[in-house]
């Protein structure tokens, strides 16, 4: 798919293309390792390094071993480098980061840094040091080559299962397009998974929604594929390909919240996962926006998630224990984009929704997070003018656009019971795009 839609990217992977790019200094987007059935967590050995004060090295090593990863000995090339920097407290401690250089040089794949949660540290120097790790990781991500990603896990007190789950996700091919991102991993108790958990994906007829349905079906979910009736033909194809079911619903309709809640309660005994993916764009400069273009974007992208979530939380039986919400934000919502005041307002609004709901939902054993895609190869980005489209692709550390599956993988991970400690977060799936970084 990337080869089809990114002609430059496929050209520079050919012999002559490689040569030309090397001579002229043009970007050479690497081919990303993506998830395929039966694949191991890593395709090479990993090293786990504890910096002074580290406390997570043993369990992290054990988790990787249990996931079939070999721990490296000697000077061999690494598929992953996991660094426990949770114990760094003084500026002098930061010197230890320099010792990672030789390891970083021979790592092609994943670099994962574990840190403390800066906001929980009362000592100013300690907090400064831990916050400094974010700049370290983001910069290292920009220096990494060959599709290598660098991410930061901020480990909260009591984080256990969720940390294991996060380490696995960030080391795996599933996180191919997640780069330069900090994420807080909290405690959180996973509920026992139902035999056939149920996921709802709005806007499932195509693009990221369709890919999300596939990923959730892969992990055993019955996926209720929701879209407007007009998209019914594509929607049926998606639902049948994942042995799920369809629900024709205009998420902005007055009776949509009740209809969805009833459908989930009556037919499925509640949803385990709700993905608010349905979204539209009506791009225009702010001064030229008419009321319809403004309000329709707000109604679909922000109003519907607000109303649907409220209804599902209030309707008895609409949600299964431990249910997860994932909202599709956008890096354009975080950074802003010319001609997208309406879209960015809605997508930034979702971040507020996630942050507001996280606490109250956690009390009920539920969780809510947002995923913010960057430049993703979809029909929407295919319709962009060539120059902004090419800029969108090349301004990421991975020098290419992501695929719908990359976003879907992140959603699929957040939907897993084991990710129970991830709550109120915004995870960017953008290949460390410059926008909104």
């Amino acid at each position: 798919m990337s080869a089809m839609s990114d002609p430059y990217g496929s050209f520079v992977r050919t012999g002559p293309g490689k040569l030309l790019a090397a001579r002229t200094g043009l970007p050479r987007p690497p081919r990303l390792r993506r998830s395929v059935p039966g694949q191991g967590l890593l395709d090479g050995p990993a090293a786990v390094v504890g910096l002074p004060g580290a406390s997570r090295v043993d369990e992290t090593t054990l988790w990787l071993r249990n996931a079939g990863v070999r721990i490296a000995r000697g000077e061999e090339p690494l598929a992953a480098l996991v660094v426990d920097a949770t114990g760094l407290r003084t500026v002098a401690d930061l010197d230890e980061l320099l010792t990672l250089a030789p390891l970083f040089r021979r790592t092609t794949g994943r670099v994962l840094v574990l840190s403390a949660v800066p906001a929980t540290l009362t000592d100013p120097e300690a907090r400064a040091v831990q916050q400094g790790l974010e700049g370290f990781v983001r910069s290292l991500g920009k220096e990494a080559r060959g599709g290598t990603t660098v991410n930061l896990l901020r480990v909260a007190e009591g984080a256990g299962t969720a940390l294991r789950s996060a380490v696995e996700f960030f080391c795996s091919a599933r996180s191919a397009f997640v780069d330069g991102q900090p994420l807080v991993v909290g405690p959180g108790v996973p509920v026992v998974r139902r035999d056939r958990p149920v996921a709802v994906v709005t806007g499932a007829a195509q693009g990221i929604g369709a890919a999300t349905a596939q990923v959730l079906a892969r992990s055993g979910h019955h996926v209720v594929c929701v879209d407007v009736a007009a998209a019914g033909e594509k929607l049926a194809a998606v639902a049948n390909s994942v042995a799920g079911s369809t629900l024709h619903l205009d998420v902005t309709a007055a009776d949509a919240p009740a209809a969805l809640a009833t459908h989930l309660a009556d037919r499925f005994g509640g949803a385990d996962v709700v993905v608010h993916n349905a979204g539209i764009t009506r791009d225009r400069s702010f001064v030229n926006l008419d009321a319809a273009a403004w309000s329709s974007v707000l109604a679909v992208n922000l109003g519907a998630p607000v109303r649907l979530t409220t209804a599902l939380l209030e309707h008895d039986g609409a949600l299964a224990p431990g249910a997860r919400f994932v909202c599709l934000s956008s890096i354009n919502g975080l950074a802003g984009a010319k001609g997208q005041t309406n879209y960015a307002t809605s997508k930034a609004g979702l971040v507020g929704l996630v942050e507001a709901l996280a606490g109250p939902l956690a009390e009920r054993g539920l969780a809510v997070n947002a995923v913010a895609p960057g430049f993703i190869e979809t029909p929407m980005t295919a319709a962009m003018p060539p120059i902004p489209r090419e800029l969108g692709r090349r301004t990421s550390s991975l020098q290419q656009g992501g695929l719908p599956i990359d976003v879907a993988e992140a959603i699929g991970w957040l939907a897993q019971p084991d990710a129970a400690g991830i709550d109120g977060q915004v995870l960017r799936v953008c290949g460390q795009n410059l926008l909104g970084a």
Partner: protein, 413 residues
């Protein structure tokens, strides 16, 4: 019946005038689309159902196993058996009765009934003389014998023989038959036009309120029935020239506006035992209680489309009911005149009358279109949903068919 078959829901393609957006789709393509939409709506991908029964009225010789072939193209488990039924316009409802009966007897737990027709992709036969030449040619073993067979070819034989919209025994088209019945029952032009107008208005209103959101899946980019004219008026309908009954001794009243056009489309309905539905947490819309099929001798004077006039009294008598006992009545609008003649005949038979607010409340074939074999399944799913929406009740469905046949059914929720 020992146990009643539950109607879970239905699905259909939008219906489209022949020769338009579905011109390149076969009856099988349409049936696959209707089935796949139903499978998706009820999450049946990979499931083995008791059976799928459907049919087409305009049927190619290659479609001898139409429904089975369609099933193999869907997401259903290929181990789902299927067979074809053909009873003209009664096909889609007769298939539902067959599946329901097997459910009632405990022979199957769940099945799909339906029908499909493409008037665009109608089968063309070749001239009988040409056909004999070609058959002899295929049997010829020597060059001489082949030449001899070919020598019998005549240019006139190369003209294909299109299917006739005419009764085999009378040579009259369905419209001409209906025109005779209209005259017999003194059905006025105005009454027909009013019925047609109401059909368009009711169907448009049903679309507006999203009634079809879970009864229909778009196909080939078509989202609504293209026969529907939400803006038609009595004046526009009154301005149309009559097309049938022009040579009869009396006013010709039947026009393209109060007759159904040739249409392409498919419709299916999911039936099951209550237990099967409960095990899957599928809400039951209604139950198919009973049905009666009748035939009349149209060759010797009976109205071609009047069999429901005979079928309904038999069915209602069996259940001790009159028309007053029905909250909804769905009468297939092959022609507006057929509906009016049928209602008049029922009244004359002492069955009672049907208030207009109970008749075809979401519009019917005049506005929706009428892909022959698909209509019965469309009516059944629509009726079941309407009863469910009302919170219960009883409905009568009546479908007339070519060959002097007709079927009526009772649905309860």
């Amino acid at each position: 019946m020992s146990r009643r078959a539950a109607i879970i829901g239905g699905n259909r393609t939008p219906f489209v005038r022949a020769g338009r957006r579905y011109a390149q789709a076969s009856a099988q393509d349409l049936l696959v689309a209707a089935l796949d939409g139903l499978v998706a709506r009820y999450g049946l991908a990979g499931e083995r159902l008791g059976e799928v029964v459907a049919g087409a009225v305009l049927k190619h010789s290659r479609d001898l196993n139409l429904t089975r072939e369609a099933v193999l193209s869907t997401a259903l488990d290929p181990a789902t058996p299927a067979y074809d039924v053909q009873q003209a316009c009664a096909t889609g409802l007769e298939t539902a009765v067959l599946v329901a009966n097997k459910i009632a007897l405990g022979q199957v737990e769940a099945g799909i009934a339906g029908g499909t027709d493409s008037a665009s992709d109608a089968p063309l036969a070749v001239d009988d003389g040409l056909r004999r030449v070609l058959l002899d040619l295929s049997r010829a073993r020597t060059p001489g014998a082949r030449l001899a067979a070919l020598a019998r070819l005549r240019p006139g034989q190369l003209r294909p023989v299109p299917p006739r919209n005419a009764e085999a025994r009378t040579g009259l088209s369905m419209g001409e038959h209906a025109a005779r019945t209209a005259l017999e029952f003194s059905v006025t032009r105005r009454a027909q036009d009013e019925l047609a107008l109401a059909s368009h208005q009711k169907l448009a209103a049903a679309y507006e309120r999203g009634f079809f959101d879970d009864l229909l899946t778009p196909y080939l980019g078509v989202r609504r029935d293209d026969v529907l004219r939400p803006d038609t008026t009595l004046e526009k309908l009154a301005a149309l020239e009559p097309v049938f009954g022009r040579d009869l001794p009396g006013e010709a009243t039947m026009t393209a506006g109060n007759s159904t056009p040739l249409t392409d489309g498919a419709a299916v309905v999911l039936l099951a035992s209550d237990e099967w539905a409960a095990a899957r947490r599928l809400p039951v819309l209604a139950h198919l209680v009973d049905a009666e099929t009748a035939a009349v001798d149209h060759v010797h004077g009976a109205g071609l489309l009047t069999a429901p006039v005979v079928a309904a009294p038999r069915l209602l008598q069996r259940h001790g009911l009159s028309l007053a006992d029905f909250d909804l009545v769905e009468v297939h609008e092959a022609f507006a005149s057929t509906v009016l003649a049928t209602l008049a005949a029922w009244e004359a038979d002492g069955l009672g009358t049907v208030p207009s607010d109970r008749l075809n409340v979401t519009g019917s074939s005049l506005a929706t279109g009428h892909p022959f074999a698909a209509t019965g399944a469309r009516l059944l799913a629509t009726t079941a949903k309407l009863l469910h929406e009302r919170g219960g009740g009883r409905a009568l469905i009546s479908v007339c068919a070519a060959g002097g046949q007709g079927i009526v059914a009772i649905v309860e929720a």
